[in-house]
């Protein structure tokens, strides 16, 4: 087993001054470490899940192998304007301004149990909006998976009504 946390590269002042960015690419580049991550996510996934929903774009990197391994469909949540067909939308507040995420109308069936996955849990704003978007589609969020959790930012509190799992905590 690899020590995944030690593979994370910390970049000061990215994308802006004062932010310590946790760069996950050294884990991705390491075939053995990447496999360990995906197998951990698989182990954490409840058996009754019928779709993997992943948040653009780093969430795609973890969601699609999980979807492959489970043999269930993969559904992308994307930023506004990227998905081409009929969409359901959710707005959410940023520090300054508002952002919108979208999902295709036929991505999740009513009553379908899903996993939500992304690379990083910070304040939980995007994940919370994604959960609400899935629920607007009639889906049931069984569990939310992250590679990295920044515990100081209390994202887990924001998602307290849901089962949240993260592999690496800072």
């Amino acid at each position: 087993m690899k020590d995944l946390k030690s593979l994370i590269r910390t970049i000061p002042d990215f994308p802006k001054s004062g932010i310590l960015f946790r760069d996950i690419t050294p884990i991705l580049q390491d075939g053995e470490a990447f496999k360990q991550v995906i197998l951990t996510f698989k182990k954490e996934t409840p058996k009754n899940v019928k779709k993997v929903v992943a948040i653009e774009s780093r969430g795609f990197i973890f969601g699609s192998p999980l979807s492959y391994l489970l043999g269930v469909g993969f559904v992308p949540i994307r930023k506004s304007g990227k998905l081409p067909w009929k969409k359901i939308k959710m707005e959410y507040d940023l520090e300054y301004g508002v952002d919108t995420i979208e999902i295709h109308q036929d991505g999740i069936k009513k009553g379908e149990r899903v996993i939500l996955i992304d690379d990083l849990l910070a304040t939980g704003g995007t994940a919370f909006a994604s959960v609400k978007l899935i629920e607007k589609c009639g889906g049931i969020v069984e569990k939310i998976l992250f590679l990295v959790e920044l515990t100081d930012l209390n994202g887990r509190e924001r998602l307290k009504d849901y089962d949240v799992f993260s592999i690496i905590k800072f």
Copy 2:
């Protein structure tokens, strides 16, 4: 075996007037069809490949399960400003203007054989720039994989010095 081509949804006038957009999300949403795609890519990958390089962001969806199955590292190529660490860049011409793609400096080792993967081959502009970026890093592109190829746009001609494979042709 599923008929993958029949699952593609064609959207007129997206992202702009006059363009027929080939929407691949119905394939992703179908666990069995998605698995068929990934296993086809695996079968097409030469044995000596040491990295899977995927183009943001739909390329990630196919590149990461392939990387998982091969047990080799996954390296993202991203649009300008997205990668946090030391980067190598490549500019390329668009219809109007110029775009830049980037890769982390430590993503590919000198002499490493890689697969390049993306969802769609159109004119081949982004794929060609990606190949050149990989070669600037010292990597060797063994093969280029696409889910969909728009044959009218002659992307294959642009990539004629490379081994190109696509699953679905329009």
